[in-house]
Symmetry: C2
Subunit: 259 residues, 2 copies
């Protein structure tokens, strides 16, 4: 007798987000779901962890194959408490994070709470997929993300035994009708950085305030192997993610400079 | 006439931390200092940014060569507002983040707000150094960190014109008397992950709470080129940091698996 795969889900838009509900429904096609998601929006939380305050968890849904907890921590806290507290004696088969409202392509992989949690999940030896739709709308159309998410989840579960670990995928889906998506492309992370324009206003009490807003500067818009190029051309972009941040080239440049 | 270098400082322990005061004093030896630091502790904030709320800044110190602002954002917010609002018409020569209370070696580079801000600073084309002491004590002894920080800052400023960009260094100083430090080692990021143990208690109102605590599992304690080995052997560890997180090896493994 084969047991159903056990799938852990989290996100950064909270357990109330439309994209999260789609992820739970999609994952349920493949196995038993345990989700621990933030109890409020945690976008842009990156790999942040909560060190200096206690965290609260409550069960918000339970059925035969789906259990959902709302947690007061960051997305990475959600992944950590899942693996180091909830699943201590259970083998998890897959980590899913999202479906995020908004792209996490290019350097966004570093700022994203969705990808922070997916990356953290991969640290536990479990194949991990962050799935994002290039549409911030709270009521975005997730049809394409669900359709291609299903294809990618199938492929990863089928090949899990022969793929190395850690295994983490950053999957981004273009904003267009599902039928207009051109296919899937394996990509690398696009080079480029954000430049911000801070809204600068005065609050009702006469205090200056700033509000972060900005735009991504793509340093290589013509690079056909980059994830931004794939999205711009209506492909689903799949970038495998690793966490050795050593700049090996710079190591050689620094030889003799710092001693 | 040469103008003094302009040095931007931030951290994640807040502008009130002892390590921050040491960094300001150290940087003042080299040039004019503008610091924007969090107005409260922001440890473990990684590359997090504040999207959904306004941010407040106030000047807390001003002298001929040192200006310090306290900011209500994350460390990365501090770097962003510095470059995209304060320094719009000024060339910054160096970014310094820290001196952090606690090591940011190995995978900590990803969780650290200190390193988040240092990495962000490097996105603006300015040489960037995160400096951390392997001692969490609020009253830690920063003598060795200051002495070796001085050496590394000197070397980076002297070689800045011929080093490539982005340039970001993760510098970690061992916890020992300055005179016991064995020297500086250029290293790579140690492989290994944290495993957490959540304190699980009941609050005064009968609600369960969890508190994150854990330990780092070093996957290669004998690797002499790793930053953890350097720290354990009383060397200052210098790891250059880059942000292409693409797992190129995995890209090849996925060929034909995801299509």
């Amino acid at each position: 007798m084969t047991t159903k795969p056990l799938i852990f889900i989290t996100n950064d838009d909270s357990y109330l987000a439309k994209g999260f509900r789609h992820m739970v429904a999609l994952a349920s096609e493949f196995g038993r779901v345990v989700a621990i998601a933030p109890d409020r929006v945690q976008s842009g939380m990156s790999q942040a962890i909560t060190i200096n305050q206690p965290l609260f968890m409550r069960k918000v849904e339970e059925s035969a194959d789906v259990t959902i907890y709302a947690f007061s921590g960051t997305p990475v806290d959600c992944a950590k408490i899942a693996f180091d507290h909830i699943f201590v004696n259970e083998k998890v088969d897959l980590v899913l994070s999202g479906i995020n409202h908004g792209s996490n392509a290019a350097i966004n992989v570093m700022y994203s709470g969705t990808m922070g949690a997916a990356i953290e999940g991969s640290f536990y030896g479990v194949p991990s997929i962050g799935l994002s739709l290039d549409d911030h709308d709270a009521d975005a159309d997730f049809e394409g993300a669900v359709e291609y998410g299903r294809r990618i989840i199938s492929a990863v579960l089928a090949a899990a035994d022969r793929l190395p670990r850690p295994l983490c995928l950053n999957v981004n889906v273009p904003r267009c009708a599902a039928s207009d998506i051109q296919g899937i492309r394996l990509c690398r992370q696009t080079r480029g950085f954000w430049r911000e324009e801070f809204y600068h206003r005065e609050d009702p009490h006469g205090r200056d305030y700033f509000w972060l807003t900005g735009g991504f500067n793509n340093a290589e818009p013509e690079a056909e192997d980059s994830d931004e190029w794939a999205l711009a051309h209506r492909y689903v972009a799949v970038v495998p993610v690793q966490v050795d941040m050593t700049d090996y080239k710079m190591l050689r440049s620094l030889d003799g400079v710092i001693k």
